[in-house]
């Protein structure tokens, strides 16, 4: 007789999806929120059009007030390095 596992099945988790530039443009055109997570001074110098600044260390405190949970969110930083 096989012992039944007592471990509950892992619920399906949403995984952030990696996207490219073209997909980004399509999502933004359909209302996605664009978020730069670099420090604010980096954002001030250059950011993608219509992006908002939400530095990584402020995400916990400010994400839910700055962003709409019901709309898609796209995050970006400098590059993949």
């Amino acid at each position: 007789m096989t012992a039944r596992s007592s471990t509950p099945p892992t619920p399906t988790k949403n995984v952030p999806t990696e996207i490219d530039r073209e997909r980004l443009q399509a999502l933004v055109a359909r209302g996605a929120q664009l978020v730069e997570v670099l420090p604010a001074e980096e954002y001030e110098e250059d950011h993608l059009p219509a992006a908002v600044s939400l530095p990584l260390r402020h995400v916990d405190k400010e994400a839910t007030t700055l962003l709409d949970r019901n709309r898609p969110v796209i995050v970006y930083c400098w590059d993949t390095a």
Partner: protein, 54 residues
Amino acid sequence: MKNKTKTLVKCVRCGTPIESCAFCDEPGCRTPTCYECVSTVLVQAKRQPHTHGG
């Protein structure tokens, strides 16, 4: 068969031996610079943010 020995020069910024300057690719360049240093200077005009952690 005679092996060709490549003459290497040193990057003026970091000292890495290189075949030719990555910026101008001229054999007689007086300030030969390696690819890494060229990229760093030209991109650092934008200030690298990864000193804050990637």
